[in-house]
């Protein structure tokens, strides 16, 4: 059935005659197509794409509200409206604020910081499936995408933090040296979020059902993270192990640390035990774990 025409180079003695395909590939240093690079090589590739990560994050930020009339104003309005909704429900209607001083900055910090992690999970889950065109057209380490999304959310959070600073000052709280702690807290949370985004990216790329399920998981997580109320008041009523578990929640830790940094009325004694160690541990475990987990399936993204 099949015709193989005689090659033009036939007649010249072929030094590779008699070699099988695999031996021929080995002789000329060819490797299996689409194979995953080693972790060190992969890291080098990601580092080489750092300009792409930055440019992609900024580009996303520019187009985010480009279709609405108010445009970039929404960057400030969205977090404010969010805080307003929770304020209406939890302060004015449910009176959860009893016993919490300076409830408005307390609530806003919780909402903004949690939203950073929430966005990492949600956009991470979709980061592969929403960018199939890019993935199939060009070769680059795919981890650049979830990382770029995290950088994009960090840029948005910086805007929210500006709004938050104003809210704190308007509430009559002073600027203290503790405000400097915002930077390490943000760095630790960003590292954790990037890892989480990469973790969710692999899950989301494999299981399209995850995108449907995530909003429910996120909501449960939010209510457990002390966004609206002081979790220690709940934790103290639970058995010891359950209380410890609730206090080890990374979102809770980053929220509590941010409140401590920003709000003079939050004393160090109200923080969970070993809070800085836990914040750093989550960043290392989350960041590295998510990265390795994502890399393990590198060759499979965008297939099928």
């Amino acid at each position: 059935m099949s015709t193989v025409f005689e090659q033009r180079a036939a007649g010249v003695a072929d030094p590779d005659a008699g070699l099988g395909p695999a031996e021929l590939a080995a002789k000329y240093g060819l490797t299996i197509s689409g194979r995953r690079p080693s972790l060190a090589e992969y890291t080098r590739q990601v580092w080489q794409r750092r300009y792409f990560i930055g440019a992609y994050a900024t580009a996303k930020l520019m187009v985010q509200y480009s279709s609405s009339k108010l445009g970039q104003v929404w960057q400030v309005l969205t977090p404010l409206l969010n805080a307003a909704v929770y304020f209406l429900i939890f302060d004015l209607l449910l009176h959860v604020s009893k016993g919490i001083p300076d409830y408005i900055p307390y609530l806003c910090t919780g909402v903004f910081v949690f939203q950073f992690t929430q966005a990492a999970v949600l956009s991470g889950t979709r980061s592969i499936s929403d960018n199939l065109g890019l993935i199939r057209a060009l070769h680059f380490p795919r981890a650049a995408l979830p990382i770029a999304f995290t950088v994009n959310q960090l840029q948005q959070l910086v805007v929210s933090m500006g709004v938050l600073g104003v809210i704190v000052l308007v509430s009559g709280l002073p600027v203290t040296v503790n405000w400097l702690l915002i930077i390490p807290v943000l760095l630790l949370q960003s590292t954790f979020n990037a890892g989480l985004a990469m973790f969710m990216a692999r899950i989301g790329a494999k299981t399209s059902d995850m995108a449907q399920l995530m909003p429910f998981i996120i909501r449960t997580w939010m209510y457990l993270s002390g966004v609206f109320w002081a979790v220690d008041s709940v934790a103290s009523k639970l058995p010891h192990w359950a209380g410890t578990l609730i206090e080890a929640n990374p979102a809770l830790i980053y929220i509590e640390l941010m409140r401590y940094s920003l709000m003079d009325s939050v004393p160090a004694s109200s923080l969970p035990h070993h809070v800085w160690i836990m914040a750093a541990a989550w960043a290392v475990i989350g960041g590295l774990g998510g990265y390795v987990f994502f890399w393990k399936a590198e060759e499979e993204y965008g297939r099928g």
């Binding site: 059935m1 395909p21 194979r35 065109g133 199939r136 057209a137 070769h139 499979e300």
Partner: protein, 274 residues
């Protein structure tokens, strides 16, 4: 013969460049089989109750269909070769390219390549909400260029794509482009870097005459830079102009493999007989 082909043969009388003299393999395809798993095809009643009863009875989803697109093909491509892939619709040409690019895992067999083959397709979209300008920069950065290199190549890419021939389109979002313009810009971006192995899937057929000329030239240049070019096209004249070797696929099998002139002729005879 359509008008396009007539024009081609008038404009490009010299034909493809000669085949390479030295034989250094760049792509080795060894008995490759590709099986697609397709979800959501012919999915029964598609109601929630039927989906639930299926899960309860542990039956495989009827929506899952397997398509055996490529059924064991083998060939070796060498440095400096331009390989055309021809065959009727659904013969497995695009699938073969995707597998060489590493985007589809072979169900059996293996594909060996040198480095990272780049696949250019008309369907591959970049970022539609961003301006053409930003797409150029992002695409180049994604391929691993630095900002300095992007600045250096930017004007060449825009000129090559011909996007700005009819006004300042480069500063408009890509979603406002016609499909031909989008394909041209994508081709220009990917061709800006020299690749060891470049694969082009019908990209040329979407451009206008001037763009086709430029791309055929660019393919020749890429071949001179010691690369291997694969081209999938339904235009036999484009294959004749650019490829020195052609592989004819039919039903996922190689029907013929050899010098372009012989293979395309056999293919044309076969098409005319049907």
């Amino acid at each position: 013969m359509d008008d396009q082909e007539m024009l081609d043969s008038v404009l490009e009388p010299q034909g493809p460049p000669p085949p390479p003299t030295e034989k250094i393999p760049t792509v080795i395809v060894d008995n490759m089989h590709i099986v697609y798993k397709v979800y959501g095809a012919g999915a029964g009643k598609g109601s929630a109750t039927s989906a639930l009863s299926r899960i309860v009875r542990r039956k495989a989803s009827p929506a899952l269909t397997e398509v055996h697109a490529v059924k064991g093909i083998s060939f070796t491509a060498y440095k400096g070769e331009a390989v055309g892939l021809i065959g009727s619709n659904g013969s497995g040409k695009s699938t073969t390219l995707a597998a060489i690019a590493g985007l589809l895992p072979p169900a059996r067999g293996a594909v060996y390549t040198d480095g990272q083959p780049a696949l250019l397709g008309v369907n591959a979209a970049l970022m539609n909400d961003l301006t053409g300008e930003r797409n150029v920069v992002l695409g180049c950065l994604a391929m691993g260029m630095t900002y300095a290199e992007v600045r250096e190549k930017y004007q060449d890419i825009v000129d090559f794509s011909g996007i700005n021939d009819k006004g300042d389109f480069i500063s408009l979002p890509m979603r406002t482009y016609s499909s031909g313009m989008g394909a041209r810009l994508r081709f220009a971006i990917s061709a800006a870097r020299s690749h060891d192995v470049l694969m082009i899937d019908e990209a040329l057929s979407t451009g206008d005459m001037a763009f086709r000329k430029r791309s055929e030239e660019r393919i020749r240049e890429l071949r001179k830079e010691a690369g291997t070019v694969f081209l999938v096209s339904h235009s036999n004249s484009t294959i004749r102009e650019t490829c020195n070797r052609t592989i004819w696929l039919e039903h996922g099998l190689i029907r013929a493999d050899g010098p372009t002139e012989d293979v395309v002729k056999e293919y044309e005879d076969w098409t005319n007989k049907r």
